[in-house]
C-alpha cells in the first residue's frame, strides 16, 4: 500500500489571502506545552472535537469524511482544515504545507516515520534515464521557504532527515542556509542530502558545505560507472562524470562524509562488479556505498525497455560487487531488493530501505521466514517483479 502524501482538503476556513501558503503542525488535542502559531489541534472523532473546544484550540485540523462539516465551521472562530479519512495516518507532531486558494496540501514530515524526506526543488542539471522524480524546469524557490518554515516545527528528537530533489544544490546558497538552520535547530538529527555532486566541483560550494559543520551530515552522490561516457549517458549530461568525481574528491579532501549510490538497471547492473572494483581501488575512503534496486516509476517506466533487467540476472555480479567492496573495507549496503533475489552472501548487507509510505509485499511473502528483515517492494509507479521472487522457508 502507498500512503497518500498529497491531497486536497475538502474544506478550509480562516486563511487570509495575503499569504499564498502556510506550514502547519498537527498537535494532539490534549497535548500540553507551548502552542506555536502554526499548531492545529488534530481531531478525528466527535469526542476529540469536544476536547479541542474545551482546550481552547483556535485552529483545528479534522480528519473525517465530510458529512458533519457545518458543526466545525460554527464552533471555531479562526482556522479550520478538513481532510478525508484516507489521511488518517496523520498524527501528533506531523507537519504539512497548505496552499490557501487551491486547498492542496502535502505531508512534509511525519514524526513517527524513520523515512522523512523533504523535496528541495524539482530542477536538475542531470536528466537521468531512470529518474524517479523527473525534473521540471520551473521556478519552485517557494519550496525552500516552506522548508525553512517547517524546520522550526520539526521535533529536535528526529533521528534522520533526507533532502531530495531535483538537484538539491540548484540554489546552493539558499540550501546551505537551510542546512545551517538544521545545524542550529536539529544538531542531533542525521542529515542526508541527495545530490548529483556536480556542484562540488566548484571549490566555493564545497567550502561553504564544510563550513556548515553539522555534526552528522552526509552527501549521497550517484556514480553509475567507472567510465565517463557511460555515466554521462545514463545521467544525460556530458561532463557530469568528471564534475561528480571531482566533487567527491573535494568533499573528502575537506573531511566531509560521502555516500556513493548506484542505481541498478540494465545499463549499470551488468558492470556493477567493475564499478565497485573501481570504487574500492580509487575511493575506498568514501563512508558508504549503496547499491540500489530500481524504483520503477517516473522516467524508469518510460525507459522500461532499455532499463529493465531481472535482478536474478545480475545476482552473481552483485554478490561479487559487494564482496569486492567489503574486502576493501568499504561499508556497503544493498537497498530496495528483496532477499529472495539476492545471493545469501549479500544478505548481511541488504537493508529495509524502502520508505514506509511506499513499501509493500506480495502474497507469497506471507509464508516467508525472512519477511521481517526484508526490504519488500516499491508500491509506486509500475512495480515489476523478478522471476526469482519466492518465499524463503528454510
Amino acid at each position: 500500500m502507498t500512503l497518500p502524501l498529497y491531497g486536497t482538503a475538502s474544506l478550509s476556513a480562516g486563511f487570509s489571502s495575503d499569504k499564498a501558503r502556510s506550514v502547519i503542525r498537527l498537535r494532539a488535542v490534549d497535548s500540553i506545552g507551548e502552542r506555536h502559531a502554526s499548531d492545529f489541534g488534530l481531531v478525528k472523532t466527535p469526542e476529540e472535537l469536544k476536547r479541542a473546544a474545551e482546550s481552547n484550540w483556535s485552529s483545528i485540523f479534522v480528519v473525517s469524511d465530510s458529512s458533519i462539516q457545518n458543526e466545525f465551521s460554527e464552533s471555531f472562530e479562526r482556522q479550520l482544515i478538513l481532510v478525508p479519512r484516507k489521511f488518517d495516518y496523520l498524527g501528533d507532531g506531523d507537519v504539512l504545507g497548505f496552499d490557501h486558494s487551491s486547498r492542496k496540501f502535502r505531508t512534509l514530515f511525519r514524526r513517527n516515520s524513520a523515512h522523512n524526506s523533504l523535496l528541495v526543488t524539482e530542477r536538475c542539471n542531470n536528466y537521468c534515464l531512470m529518474c524517479s522524480q523527473p525534473p521540471k524546469d520551473v521556478d519552485d524557490r517557494w519550496i525552500l521557504n516552506e522548508i525553512k518554515e517547517s524546520l522550526s516545527l520539526i521535533s529536535p528528537e528526529t533521528r534522520a532527515l533526507t533532502f531530495t530533489g531535483g538537484e538539491t544544490l540548484s540554489d546552493w546558497e539558499d540550501f546551505i542556509g537551510v542546512l545551517r538552520q538544521c545545524r542550529d535547530r536539529l544538531p542531533a538529527t542525521s542529515l542526508q542530502v541527495l545530490t548529483n555532486g556536480r556542484a562540488f566541483a566548484n571549490s566555493q560550494i564545497v567550502d561553504a558545505w564544510r563550513d556548515i559543520e553539522h555534526p552528522n551530515l552526509m552527501a549521497a552522490i550517484p556514480v553509475y560507472a567507472s567510465v565517463d561516457s557511460t555515466h554521462d549517458y545514463i545521467v544525460q549530461a556530458k561532463g557530469a562524470f568528471d564534475e561528480t568525481v571531482l566533487g567527491i574528491l573535494k568533499l573528502k579532501d575537506r573531511g566531509q562524509r560521502v555516500e556513493i549510490r548506484v542505481v541498478l538497471h540494465a545499463l549499470t547492473a551488468p558492470i556493477i562488479a567493475e564499478t565497485c572494483q573501481w570504487i574500492a581501488r580509487n575511493m575506498p575512503f568514501v563512508d558508504h556505498v549503496a547499491l540500489m534496486g530500481l524504483e520503477n516509476t517516473g522516467f524508469a517506466v518510460a525507459n522500461d525497455a532499455m532499463l529493465w533487467i531481472d535482478p536474478m540476472d545480475y545476482r552473481d555480479e552483485l554478490a561479487r560487487a559487494v564482496d569486492l567492496l567489503a574486502a576493501a573495507g568499504v561499508n556497503v549496503s544493498v537497498y530496495n531488493l528483496p532477499k529472495c533475489v539476492l545471493s545469501r552472501s549479500v544478505w548481511p548487507h541488504a537493508l529495509q530501505s524502502i520508505s514506509d509510505w511506499k513499501n509493500g509485499f506480495v502474497d507469497e511473502c506471507d509464508r516467508c521466514y525472512e519477511r521481517k528483515t526484508c526490504s519488500g517492494f516499491f508500491t509506486t509507479g509500475r512495480p515489476r517483479f523478478s522471476r526469482g521472487v519466492h518465499a524463503i522457508t528454510s
Binding site: 536528466y127 534515464l129 566541483a201 567507472s226 567510465v227 565517463d228 561516457s229 557511460t230 554521462d232 549517458y233 544525460q236 556530458k238 562524470f241 568528471d242 564534475e243 568525481v245 571531482l246 574528491l249 567493475e274 573501481w278 581501488r281 580509487n282 575511493m283 575506498p284 522516467f299 518510460a302 525507459n303 574486502a327 576493501a328
Partner: protein
Amino acid sequence: MARFLAPEAFSAATEAISLLPFNFERTGTQQYLVANMVGDFIRLTEDEINKLIDLRATPGDGLYEKAYSAHLITGSNQQAQRQLLALRLRSRMSFLQQATPLHIFVVTLRCEHSCPYCQVSRQSTDRSRFDMSEETAMRALDIAFASPASRIKIEFQGGEPLLNFSLINTIVSTAKVRSASLGKKVDFVIASNLALLDDVVLDFCKSNDILLSTSLDGPADLHNKNRPRPGANSHELATTGIRRAREVLGPDRIGALMTTTEASLDRVDEIIDEYLQLGLDGIFLRPLSPFGFAIKTKQFQKYDAKKWLSFYERGLRRVLEINRQGTPFREFYAALILTRMLSDRPIGYVDLRSPAGIGLGALVYNYDGSVFASDEGRMLAETGDNAFRLGNVDRDTYESLVLSDKLIDAISSSLTQCAPECSTCVYESHCGADPVYHHATQGDALGIKPLSAFCARQKGIMGLLLDILENSPEDAAILRRWVS
C-alpha cells in the same frame, strides 16, 4: 518523452582524449601486462595496446572502457582522472611524511651463537670493545628523538642484545622519560635468539610493552646446522623461548624470522610446519643477504634467485593450502607486496621504498657510536666498506646525518622512478630501490637491474602473486585477506 539522447552524444572525440602515464611488459605472444601510474594492472593484447597508443579507442568498443577505468586515458579537458591518480600517488608516498621512524641500537656485537651465515659478523669476546657504552647510547637517543616522525620505534640488535641487557634497561627507561616530555610515542623491539631469555627479561618486556623478534630457521636439525652454539641447542632454546614469550607477553608480542640457506631449499614444507606448530600466525620467507659472514663463508653464493624463487613458490603454495584447510596463516613478504598491489596504504618497509628507506626510514647506531643508514650498511662496515656510514653520535646531529652528501647521493642515484629498467618496469609502483644491496653486489647504489637478484626475486614474486590473483579464485580470496 523522446527527449533522451543516444549514447553517441556522450562520447569524446578522439582528438579530445589524452594518454596518462603507464608502464607495460610483453608477457607472451600478443599479450601485454599494463600498469597505470599507481600500479593497477590490466592485460591488453598487442592490437589493443597499439590502438590505445594511437588514441583509436572509442566509447562502446570495450577498449575505451577498460582503459578509462584503469586510468590509462582521460578526456583532455577533464580533471578527475588526474586528480584521482594524484591523490592515490600522494597516499602511496605518504610514508615520506614520517621521516626516520626506526632507530636500531646495536647494543653489543657479541654473540654466543656462531652462525656461518651471520650477516653482522658477530664477535665472541672482549666485552669492552664490542659493547655500546651508556654515553654512546644517550647520544644516539638524542638523535632518535630529534627525528621528525611522531612515533618512533627503537629496535635492539646485536650480536645478541641480551648480552648487554643492562644497557637496554637504561635506554628504555630514559627513552620513556623523553617520550613523555616530548610527546613523541616510542615502541621497543628486541631482536634476540632467545638463548638468554629468562624471567627477568620477560618481566621487563611485559612491564615495558616490548616486542620480541627472533630467528627460527625450521626443524631442529636444520636450525641447529644453520645456527651453531655451544651445546648445539639453539633450536630448543628458541622454541622454548617462543612458547614462554607467547605465554607471558601474549601471542602477538613475539615474531620469528627465518633465513634461507642452501640446506633449506628442499624443506620449505617442514619449515612452515615448524612455525605452524608453534602457533605463530605466519612466516617471512627470507633469502640470505649478501653481507658479513654470509659472503666470507660463501653461504650467499650457494643458491641463485631462480632457486630461491622456486623455494618461495613452493612455500607460498603450502601456506595457501594451510589456509584452504581452515587455518589462517600468512606469508608476510607476500602480505607486504599485496598491500602495495591492492591498496594505496603507505608501506614503510625499508627495502620496498623509493626514495630508498636508508636514513629516511631508519638509522642504525653501532656499538662504537658510528651511525649507519641501514642495518645492512653496518654489516658492510664490519667487512671494511664504509659506504653507508653517515657519521658518529659524538659529532653528528639528526640533520647532519640525514642531510649528508653520502645519504643524499645514495638515495637520489637509486630512485626507481627514474632508474634505467626500473622507470619503465611494469612493477615499479610496488618495488623499492635498495641501494645497499646493489652497492654490495655490484659496487653501485643504482645497479644494473637485469643482473640484480633483488630485481629477479621481486619480479618473480609479483608475477606469481598476479598469476594467483587472476587465475585461482579461492587462493586469490585468501591473498586479498592478507592486505593490511
